[in-house]
Amino acid sequence: MKTIILIITTLSLAFAVHAQSDHFTVRVDGLGCPFCAYGLEKKFKEVDKISDIKVELQKGVLTYQVPASMKMTFDQVEKLVDDAGYTTESIKVERADGRVEKSGKEGNSGSPTGALQSETKLAVSGNCGMCKDRIEKAALEVDGVVAANWDVADQSLQLTFQPDKTELEAVHRAIAKKGHDTEMVRASDKAYNGLHSCCKYERELQ
């Protein structure tokens, strides 16, 4: 009898903990080999209270849960992914209270029906596929930006945006903050130096 009570108590506690957890699904760019996948897992395991970490190598997806009380933010997730040497493509979190939050391409792409849109092209420096993800993601996170497509050969960003909501200067600043020089804003040396070695494009002297 004691055993049954113990099992029921344990299951109840486990259920309660599960119900009080935020469940994260993170899409990661460049997750190619097991060294990368295990590395990503390792960096998340080093954070106290993160549990149920799973990395699906072929899909480039990381899932895990944390206690809702931690209130883990997208910035914290991106930093962990960045520390592991990779770039976040998108984050989806199912909060313990039932809310679902999304970031990146998963949450910000697509055109709101009927909204007035404009297009423009910005000169943005970069080097590779990782740069492309980073530049587009930075642009898409600015209010009113509907679509962003960076071309490595042309070193330009094709931008679709809602002119009544978007400050173009904010787009330049957001991209430069990630380490990429634009025609209007030069990235700080700190941001540039923080780029992956393969992303370190040749800069024009100031």
Binding site: G32, P34, G85
Partner: protein, 275 residues
């Protein structure tokens, strides 16, 4: 000019002998068979010729196993946290335990953690040459190296000669140290004083040089993303490219004139013979 029959025959024999040996040899590594290892996320591979058994680190399943040449797992040796590349020297197996930031060795029944001069962050590969031990320190982009005289670690993150970008395996051969510089997509060679001697394979389109093997015949490098094995002479000349029957290879070893290549995605070992 006409040659008499005996002279002509002698000339043909000489020509045949000349064409069948030396640099003009037509021999190369040819696919022989595949050893299935279903359910095994194979990362590291070594071969115990005496016991005729493979040592295999099964990274996906956090364990070290031994298997025979039919692929039968004969022993589930020990649980590890993401074991990666292995080094089997003089009856001792060294394991780079990536998830636990440590190097351990197995000698008989004993499992011993090696005291490290500096803490690695995700050790991916290890090798010893009797008096020295080297570790590929993946996240610190450097090589931990030490001997009885002390700590000789070197390297920083970068792409210049002597820099590293996520090194994954190290191998000693004849006093030199060979490093699989995975995300610089190349192999680097250092002398016994850690001076950079040579960079190999940088222009050959490798994408993630995950594993290497070195012996007197040359340098063997796995090209993970392209599912290839590139074989170089010690001068750095590309001798042969194997791009068949491989599926995301992580490690390669040579024994008894056979090449054994570990396929991570393929969950198998591809066997090639020299003929």
């Amino acid at each position: 000019m006409k040659l008499k029959a005996p002279v002509f025959s002698f000339t043909l024999v000489i020509l045949f002998l000349l064409s069948s040996c030396g640099p003009n040899s037509t021999e190369s590594w040819q696919f022989s068979n595949e050893i299935p290892l279903e359910g095994v996320g194979i990362i590291g591979l070594e071969y115990d010729a005496e016991e005729e058994l493979f040592w295999i680190s099964d990274g996906d399943n956090n364990r070290l196993i031994r298997a025979d040449q039919s692929g039968e797992v004969v022993e589930d040796v020990h649980a590890f946290s993401r074991p990666m590349h292995l080094s089997y020297r003089e009856g001792i197996l060294y394991v780079a335990e990536y998830g636990a930031d440590r190097i351990v060795y197995i000698a008989g029944e004993d499992l011993v953690s090696v005291p490290l001069p500096q803490a690695p962050d995700a050790p991916a590969g290890v090798d010893v040459d009797g008096r020295r031990m080297a570790v590929a320190d993946f996240y610190n982009h450097r090589i931990l190296l030490w001997d009885e005289s002390g700590d000789l670690s070197f390297g920083i993150e970068g792409s210049e000669d002597g820099d590293f970008h996520y090194p994954t395996q190290v191998r000693f051969f004849e006093e030199k140290l060979y490093v699989a510089d995975a995300y610089n997509h190349r192999v680097q060679v250092f002398d016994s004083d850690n001076n950079h001697l040579k960079t190999i394979g940088a222009g050959d389109g490798m994408d993630a040089t995950t594993g290497i093997f070195v012996d007197e015949s040359g340098i063997y490098a796995t090209d993970f993303e392209n599912s290839r094995l590139l074989i170089y002479s010690h001068e750095g000349e590309l001798i042969q490219t194997i791009d068949e029957q491989l599926d995301k290879p992580t490690a390669v070893i040579k024994s008894d004139n056979k090449l054994f290549i570990a396929n991570y995605r393929g969950q198998s070992i591809s066997v090639f013979e020299w003929r």
